[in-house]
Every structure is written in C-alpha cells, then in structure tokens.
C-alpha cells in the first residue's frame, strides 16, 4: 500500500500533477523574463543572445532544464492517465447534463487545453530549442549564436509570419485558461486550503493566468507590428 500511496493512488496523481504544474508555472516566469528583452528590438539583440547562450550552457541551468523536460512529460502522462481512468469511471454517459450550472469551463477542459499547450510546446521547441541546440545558427557580431535573428525572422519576415504570430497567441490563450484553473487547483491538491489564504491564492492565480500569457503574447505581436 505504501509504495502506491505516493505513486499510484488517486491522491498521488494529484500531488504530482500539482508539483510539476507549479514548477512549470515558475519556469514560465523565468522564460518570460528573458523574452521581454526582445521588446528592446535590434538594440537588445546582443543582450538577448547572451541570455540565450547563458541559458543553454550554464551547468546549473542545464540540470534544471532536465528537471523541466521531465516535468513536462510527467505532467502530460499523468494527465493522460487521469483522463483515461476518469472516463472509465463513468462508462454510461448522461443523456442530458448541465455542467455550467456547477463548474467553470476551464476546470472541465484541462485535458483539451493541456493538449493544445503540449502541441504548442512540441512545435515551439522544434522551431527554436532544437535549432539553438543542434541546428544551423547565424552568428552575431560578438560571435554568439544569433537567436534574436532567428526569432525576428520567424515572427516578422517569414512568409507565414502572421500565421506564426496567430498560432502563438492562440497557444497563450490556451495556457491562460489552463492556468486559470490549474494554479489555484495545485494548491488545493497539495492540501493548502485556508479561509484566510485561499481567497488570496485564487486571486493571485487568476491574475497570473491573465498577465503572464498576455505578456508572452505581446512580444511577437509587437515584433510583427514594428517590423
């Protein structure tokens, strides 16, 4: 019983979902901090490239990045297992349901939203991460891998740049809805529910869910308009 209690039980799945989810949320903040440099335009290109180089080579960050990849995978696999088990728990569906009477849209569609986010992550990593790590990269005046030019090309001068921007914004909306339910849900799963603190956690969670994806989305829109 003990082994499965922290791995296989219904509550263990909640704990792991919450822990990996919170870690991924923290990552979003770190990722955003770097991306905001892009708003400086061509003048900040060298700073952005230096940041990208640091993030891909500094040993401590490398260790954290492996933890990050594992978290994404675990969060997704846990979600798939949860969804399959939950569908099995109701083999005969209701003919008529009124779920909007008692729960929020985002909370009921976490698997759907998560799937969009996962597809986005795959595409996003193929576009930037893979190229930065293993692909052909242009080099800037300081001899650094010129990720700035790669990003700028993708969102401004590429023939389908408008589509890239649009897909990026759609993905950010999906992340926003996912966080809208997910962030406060993670605290509840870990047992943090208190009459004094929970209203604050819920409010901060919702602000986070709107502000962070919005700031991410502003960057390619800004680059596209300012090209």
């Amino acid at each position: 019983m003990a082994k499965s209690a922290l791995l296989g039980s219904s509550l263990a799945k909640k704990y792991w979902m919450a822990l990996t989810g919170l870690f991924l949320s923290l990552f979003l903040v770190a990722h955003l901090a770097g991306n905001l440099v892009l708003l400086g335009g061509d003048a900040s290109a060298a700073d952005f490239n230096a940041y990208a180089e640091f993030m891909t080579t500094f040993p401590l960050i490398k260790i954290v990045s492996y933890l990050l990849y594992a978290s994404i995978l675990f969060h997704a696999i846990d979600g798939i297992v949860l969804t399959i088990q939950n569908r099995k728990a109701r083999p005969v569906k209701y003919h008529y349901e009124k779920p909007s009477a008692n729960s929020g849209w985002a909370s009921r569609n976490m698997a759907f939203l998560g799937t969009i986010v996962l597809l986005f992550i795959v595409g996003h990593m193929a576009t930037f991460w893979w190229r930065m790590k293993f692909g052909d990269m242009p080099v800037d005046a300081l001899g650094q891998k010129d990720l700035y030019t790669v990003v700028a090309t993708y969102f401004t001068t590429a023939s389908t740049a408008w589509l890239h921007v649009a897909l990026y914004v759609v993905a950010m909306i999906a992340i926003g809805f996912h966080l809208w339910h997910g962030l406060q849900s993670a605290f509840q799963s870990l047992g943090v529910n208190h009459p004094k603190y929970s209203p604050v956690i819920k409010k901060v969670g919702k602000i986070f869910a709107v502000v962070i994806p919005a700031l991410f989305a502003i960057i390619p829109i800004f680059m596209f308009i300012n090209q």
Binding site: A5, S9, S10, A12, K14, R90, Y96, P99, A101
Partner: protein, 250 residues
C-alpha cells in the same frame, strides 16, 4: 401542471436501458418530485405495466436515499436540497423533464433509477469509525476538551448524508467529497486523531479499489451537495493522506 417526463428505464444490471417518454397531467405544483413520481407510478400500475423503480426513504432530506439526476443536475435544479425536497413549482407547466440514475461505474444500476451505492458502505467500513468499546463504559462528553471551531467543522463534515450526489455530478465520478467528509469528521476531533493516519490510508485505498474517478478540483460536488460539504474537506484529506503516506513505515 402538465409535464412530459423522459425517464431512464433499465430492467436490470445487465439490460442496456433506454429513455422512455411519459406524459403526466394535473400535477399539483406543491407536490415534491417524489410525490409526482408516485402519481406517475400509480398511472403506470393502472395500465398494468411495470412501475419505475427509484430509491426513497425518509422524504425529509436526511436519509440520502433519493438519487435522481434531473434536468442535468444531481437532485435537480435548486441548491442544498435532495430530490424529496425538490417541489414541482420549480418547473413550468408544459416542461419536459429528463430523469436519469446516478451514473458511475462504482454505482451500478439495479433497476431504472435505483443504483447500488454500497461502495460507500465499504469505504466507511474500511476505516470510517473510532475503535472504542462504548458498551458499558461511556465517558462524559466533556472529559476531553474540544475547541468550539473544531467541533463545528467536524459537525459540518459529519452532516454528509452519503447520498452520492458528489459522485453523480462530478465529471470524473470521483468520490473525494464523500470520503473527505468522513475523514475530516474524525480527523478534527481528539477521539478520531488516534487512528487518523491509518484511517485516511485505508479509506482512500478502498475508494480507489471501488473504481471511482480522480478529483480534478472542478468544484461541482460542493455546489450540488445537498448539505453543503465544503472543498476544504478534500484539501484536509489531501494533507492527511500526504503526511500519513510520507510517515508510514510500510
């Protein structure tokens, strides 16, 4: 009131089941939903057909037996009520009302709208008690001091009537609101704390064995619960189970 009822009919656990349509006339708006079902059943019996099976007992919101999923919600529209406390005045003349049984793998249909909820009994039997011999050596209730706030919260959890609306309404058919209420009512009191760690592990283990789904914190259970059991109880169970599992030697 004249109504059209679409009701789930299923001859037994192995029957596939189907929705059937029943018109009813001259329903008094002050009847409870169950009384309306009684009128319909008398009509069906008069026609020489098999009446609709549904669970009911006290008809005053305490026993937790009545269990219909009405118009897409557990115990129908309205908050903090069971089906026996739902009155026909909540509907309009000419309405079509859809009535289904609780739907969950762990609550198999016995017949029509009656489901087997003994999974809840087995969860309770797995650890939802205090192992004290109370026969002949009853101690004074005030011998162990209990803070008023703890007593109130334990009582709030203990108001759970075990009706299963939480499972029926949860999109995952999860039983966590029920189990957490039972875990909480003991965990909050000194008499229950002694066995708290064993209790939560045994009850959660039994819940998982019964085939209920996993909780995804949608909060629908809390909204549909006829006695207003709070999600705070699920958080408490999460804490209790985490600390019990981490500190267990097994």
């Amino acid at each position: 009131m004249n109504l059209t009822l679409k009701i789930w009919r299923q001859n037994g656990p192995d029957d596939k089941g189907r929705m059937e349509i029943y018109p009813v006339q001259d329903i008094n708006p002050d009847m409870s939903f169950l009384e309306m079902m009684d009128v319909l059943n008398e009509q069906i019996i008069a026609e020489g057909k098999d009446p609709i099976a549904f669970d009911h007992d006290c008809r005053e919101g305490i026993c937790g037996m009545c269990s219909m999923f009405i118009n897409g919600e557990a115990h129908g529209p309205g908050r903090r009520i069971t089906t026996c406390q739902l009155h026909m005045r909540s509907f309009n003349d000419g309405d079509t009302i859809v009535v289904e049984p609780w739907r969950a793998a762990a609550f198999p249909v016995i017949k029509d709208l009656a489901t087997d909820r003994s999974a809840f009994d087995r969860i309770q039997q797995a650890g939802g008690y205090v192992s004290v011999n109370t026969s002949g050596n009853t101690i004074d209730a005030n011998a162990i001091p209990v803070p008023k706030t703890d007593a109130d919260r334990a009582f709030d959890a203990a108001t759970c009537i075990g009706c299963g609306a939480c499972v029926a309404t949860c999109k995952n058919s999860s039983a966590m609101l029920f189990v957490s209420a039972k875990v909480s009512q003991y965990a909050l009191l000194p008499q229950g704390k002694v066995e708290a760690k064993e209790r939560v592990r045994k009850m959660v283990n039994q819940m998982d064995l019964e085939g209920f789904g996993n909780c995804t914190n949608t909060g629908a259970c809390e909204v549909e619960c006829p006695v207003g059991i709070s999600l705070e109880n699920i958080a408490r169970m999460n804490r209790e189970y985490l600390s019990a599992s981490l500190s267990s030697a097994e």
